[in-house]
Point group: C2
Chain length 299, copies 2
Amino acid sequence: MGRVSMDWRRIALISALVGIATMGDGRLAAQQVPPAVPFAPLESEWRPIAEDELLVMMLEGNRRIVIRLAPTYAPDHVANIRALARSHWWDGESVYRVQDNWVAQWGDATEKKPLPSGMKALPAAEYDFPIVPLAQRLSRTDAYSRLSGVSVDGWPIASDGQKSWIPHCYGTVGVARDAAPDTGTGAELFMPLGGSARRLDRNYTIIGRVIEGAQHLSALPRSMAAMGVYDDPAQRSAILWVRLASDMPEAERPGYRYRAPDNARFAALIEAKENPMPPMISLGGVDICDLPLEVRAVP
Amino acid sequence: MGRVSMDWRRIALISALVGIATMGDGRLAAQQVPPAVPFAPLESEWRPIAEDELLVMMLEGNRRIVIRLAPTYAPDHVANIRALARSHWWDGESVYRVQDNWVAQWGDATEKKPLPSGMKALPAAEYDFPIVPLAQRLSRTDAYSRLSGVSVDGWPIASDGQKSWIPHCYGTVGVARDAAPDTGTGAELFMPLGGSARRLDRNYTIIGRVIEGAQHLSALPRSMAAMGVYDDPAQRSAILWVRLASDMPEAERPGYRYRAPDNARFAALIEAKENPMPPMISLGGVDICDLPLEVRAVP
């Protein structure tokens, strides 16, 4: 086949259900050690995401992006983002910057559009916070953090032992700003396209992560101009509208559940991911940005 | 400005030349500690890359990709790749798989095209090798390796203390294969699109890295079909031709030099990257896949 497989969920599910292991290309082989605990979650381990924690952005071409907001970790910025969505501030704006292996950024390309009333003009940065208890902890450190894992409410969490933060993984959403930390409002947002953005950890506020449609941002044409900003406005992707799911008509409203990590099945999943079976050579670890933080759309 | 800056080279160069530090958005501020060693390389620290180590792939739409091959680390696979290029094996084939946050893969979509004579049909996997001396070593471990850094000849190198390997960073080029390790030929190749591919380290052979035009692969439309393989052949990107630079007409031949890492200027660059200046909060490390492994086109 020659296919490098990434479909971890399917592999885990099949393995758990029928007691076999799958190889890199999806073919099946005899399992050497049956999993002590199956990977598949219980039905009760799919927990609802509140409708005002779902931010829906529609790009031209019917490309829908759904962001799970993180009000627990960035309350002031998320309050601003809710105010921006409710005033329809992003409608008619654009994705105006796509820099390869770095970020896609959207909002008002002129960065001069007045903000709606009721917003904090300059909220304090919320890029770190007191230690967050981890539902699951990873075995290995990484280049930017000493402790990392998953919080009970399903967020990737990095830590240096004194502070915790959400790492800049692919698909997370960060607040663009000027040089000083307290200069972002939440109006200009970015999504990391590659692993390089980890170097922004604890320096830029993360307000959520994309749980649907990240590919509509990652596959956009790159700009080779300075900072990756499109030099021709025609290159921008138009934002048709941005709404909180809770403000959308019920029939159009997306619904999502996240997989709860505080249980033995999720622990088994991480352990298996850190120690894949032969013929894969186990490296004994897994990156915080490569965790299977699953979500499920609900009708 | 609200621009998250990634232009590290420019920042480092300006800082070194005029003794000032730049902030995240490219604005200048008073430097607190002048660098002991300037970052900018000496002219003699740009070393040539051999012309038969440059693999040039032209996609439709005049999208040129240049790969630096790694014959020192994957000699058998690189020998195969040279034979494939010389027999024009890839001409008229395609990029047939683009899976989000995973890989772009190219070659013969049917995987049935006969290979040219003179190739090793099933070379042994070359995904790790004896310890490679490092010109520069990074301060921190990561989730997949205990020691990492840069080799004298400019390759990112990870290690567990017993074996060394080239990590699956964005832009590296890997050999697709079936489940068993020794089933890749070099005819089907892939480039990681995001950090998740690090989990393939020491399991898939790396034959080089893209030094020009990676954005022509990373910005391709994602396939949501199984394994990210385009389900409609019309979605594929045609490969017009693939050649070694040494086999191209002299006037069209690209030339490249790489920045030598075995010197104090490169060491200073890494140290500065691991310890950025205020107002950035230093995390004390830098990821092996975020090193400034610069190349320079030469006329």
